[in-house]
């Protein structure tokens, strides 16, 4: 039998992998948009929050903007009084995300064609603020429980299996297992889409040069609506996972910060990079917290991922699978 410390480390590693998958789900949305437009979309986290809020709102039959309406008209509206099954609510929310993508293109991106990346980045931060406010005004800032029927809690199967095998039952969260399956499907299908389809090629062209893309007849509008819709859908998936885990409320948007180091490590433009980066970061930070954390006072996870990614970038400035930064004169 393996010594305890090794078993613990193994358990931590496994859980790190699972946490990594959860990060990757968020990172994926970033990658998509970056790949397709060179925009570093800070609003991705808020998009996930917004999706989750909308989902819960639909599910519980909440009346959107009830608070605002009540404050202005002195009414007492709260709920339509119905509850929807999870799958219907998810479909409706996906529709909302497409609408949102369309609006974002209309109102924001369209006017910022050909601007330097930092301006676009700032615009997405503005967008993040706006959406955060909108989500709260629409659905209220109180905490909500999200339940679309995903299993949660320790996986008995894994525990008993490992217990029988190693004499120590590993802890794995059922939700994480579901997340892994979903992430694998997402990554595979998105990779195929972007690498081998005509639209995928157009996405990458747009990221390189807006003007040139326009000049060959690629419709930025279409590409952007498409890609923001997909990113919105990915955000919805991330929102469901994280919302199930920790409830739907403001902090959900902060998961974006967990996704950034993943992104750096994997490379901003690589879909598989998001998942590999996620795994490395997940394992890295959990193992670090497990081994070194206790010696230096713990709570290292917030920065460790970043420092790890930073050190890595020093050796490979475009991340693991990112496109090489072209340096020519």
């Amino acid at each position: 039998m393996l010594p305890d410390q090794v078993l613990y480390a193994l358990e931590v590693t496994l859980n790190g992998l699972m946490a990594g998958v959860m990060y990757a789900l968020v990172a994926l949305g970033f990658v998509l948009i970056f790949k397709a437009s060179g925009i570093f979309n800070y609003a991705q986290g808020v998009l996930a929050l917004f999706a989750a809020l909308t989902l819960v709102g639909f599910q519980n039959g909440q009346i959107p903007f009830a608070h605002l309406i009540n404050a202005t008209f002195g009414t007492h509206l709260h709920s339509f009084g119905w509850t929807l099954p999870g799958i219907v609510a998810i479909a409706l929310t996906a529709g909302v995300m497409v609408g949102l993508a369309w609006l974002i293109e209309r109102l924001v991106l369209k006017h910022l064609v050909n601007q330097p990346p930092i301006i676009l980045f700032m615009a997405t931060i503005g967008l993040a603020y706006f959406l955060e406010g909108l989500g709260d005004v629409m659905w209220g800032a109180d905490i909500k429980t999200l339940d679309v029927g995903l299993p949660q809690g320790i996986s008995e199967t894994v525990e008993s299996a490992t217990d029988a095998l190693l004499g120590y039952g590993f802890f794995i969260d059922n939700l994480d297992i579901v997340a892994t399956v979903v992430a694998v499907i997402l990554v595979a299908s998105l990779t195929i889409f972007s690498q081998y389809s005509k639209q995928g090629r157009a996405l990458r062209a747009v990221a390189d040069d807006h003007q040139a893309a326009l000049s060959v007849g690629i419709s930025l509008r279409f590409i952007w609506v498409l890609v923001w819709s997909i990113a919105g859908f990915v955000a919805l998936v991330a929102g469901i996972m994280w919302g199930t885990k920790s409830g739907v409320q403001f902090s959900l948007s902060l998961i974006a910060l967990k996704a950034l180091p993943v992104l750096m490590l994997g490379g901003f433009t690589s879909i598989p990079g998001a998942i590999v980066g996620g795994l490395i970061i997940g394992v890295g930070e959990k193992l670090f917290e497990f081994t070194v954390g206790p010696m230096i006072g713990g709570a290292t996870e917030n920065w460790f991922a970043y420092v790890l990614a930073l050190l890595f970038l020093v050796f490979r400035p475009q991340g693991l699978f990112g496109e090489k930064i072209i340096e020519r004169v």
Partner: protein
């Protein structure tokens, strides 16, 4: 023809290189100075100082600092909050360690210490570029905040982990602590801002500024024509961090009086200052002022209008405020990606032609 430069001829190069080559601008500049130093201190009260002027002055320093790094040298940094924390904690340690030394020296030293830390975290910029660098600077942000939260030496082992600014005076007037008068706070920050802004202007119009801008616009070409990227980038990190450190020190010592690192110097601060720089205008000192003023005033204004004016519940007002701020940022970027400073320049160009359209 409201705005004219005709008849303004320069006969020497220094004259041509001055900050406000046009007489009209120069006059306006002196007028602003006169009001800032001669009128406002006599009129200011606690509310105006704390809600508007002091934060504006301090954020302006930070914004100039970040503008040097991001606007002039092209290195996007999201670590501003962390660097401000360095300034604040350095200042705190100095104030408590050497109570007999003047606070002014402490503030400047705090800037110096921040500059050193900034250089350290600037080192990766030699390899890492663009958004990769921007995200990488978050490592500084999170690590520094963690450090100050974790190592009790930094907060003098206080139970809560908070730091409190002891009372200090300059020329016999309190400038820190609860007994500080509004005017003293204001003037102290104003003087420092004035000196730093002047220095920033000098740096950016001279050789070093050109090095920075060359790196910003095209780093490879810059290196080929003889700019050493190492010294250029690191000097930008150093100068920028110095400014940000001073801002952090003032923010803690003069404005807040006490601080808890994760709260005050969190990532939101980084974004806020970056916003100021971008809304104001990248690569423009004036823009830093404009951006700081805009983002300090806007929430105050919105709060007053929405809560007091329209009587909305605070939460609704706060959410709507968020929407408005976010929306305005987007609108501004669309209207003029080069910021308020550019808007101002275009307005001047139009005025010059006025009443003819072109």
């Amino acid at each position: 023809m409201f705005y004219r430069e005709a008849g303004d001829f320069k006969t020497t190069y220094p004259e041509d290189a001055q900050t406000f080559p046009i007489r009209f601008d120069r006059v306006r500049y002196y007028a602003v100075l006169a009001v800032a130093f001669g009128v406002i201190p006599f009129w200011i009260n606690d509310y105006w100082a704390n809600a508007v002027f002091v934060p504006f002055l301090i954020y302006a320093i930070a914004a100039i600092g970040l503008n040097i790094l991001t606007g002039y040298c092209g290195q996007v940094s999201l670590g501003t909050g962390g660097f401000m924390a360095v300034g604040a904690y350095a200042c705190y340690k100095l104030m408590t360690g050497f109570p007999e030394v003047s606070i002014l020296i402490h503030v400047l030293l705090a800037g110096g210490i921040t500059a050193c830390v900034g250089v350290l975290f600037g080192l990766p910029s030699l390899r890492i570029k663009g958004f990769y660098l921007a995200v990488a600077t978050l490592a500084a942000q999170f690590f520094l905040v963690w450090l100050f939260n974790k190592v009790p030496w930094f907060y003098n082992y206080s139970a809560s982990g908070q730091i409190n600014a002891p009372e200090r005076t300059v020329l016999g007037h309190f400038v820190t602590g609860p007994n500080t008068s509004a005017a003293a706070k204001y003037l102290f920050c104003l003087v420092i801002l004035f000196a730093l802004a002047w220095m920033a202007r000098n740096l950016t119009r001279g050789t070093i500024g050109r090095r920075w801008m060359a790196i910003r616009d095209m780093d490879i070409a810059a290196e080929i024509i003889g700019v050493n990227p190492l010294t250029a980038k690191l000097s930008a990190f150093a100068v920028s961090s110095f400014f940000i450190g001073v801002a952090g020190a003032l923010f803690f010592a003069v404005y807040l009086g006490a601080a808890e690192v994760g709260e005050v110097f969190g990532i939101n601060k980084s974004f806020l200052v970056l916003f100021m720089v971008i809304i104001g205008g990248l690569g423009s000192i004036f823009g830093s002022f404009a951006g700081a003023a805009f983002l300090v005033l806007l929430p105050v204004l919105l709060k007053n209008v929405l809560v007091e004016g329209m009587g909305w519940p605070t939460d609704l007002a706060a959410h709507i405020e968020l929407m408005i701020v976010g929306g305005l940022i987007v609108v501004f970027l669309i209207a003029e990606p080069h910021g308020l400073a550019q808007l101002w320049r275009v307005a001047k160009e139009k005025l010059r032609l006025w009443p003819f359209p072109h």
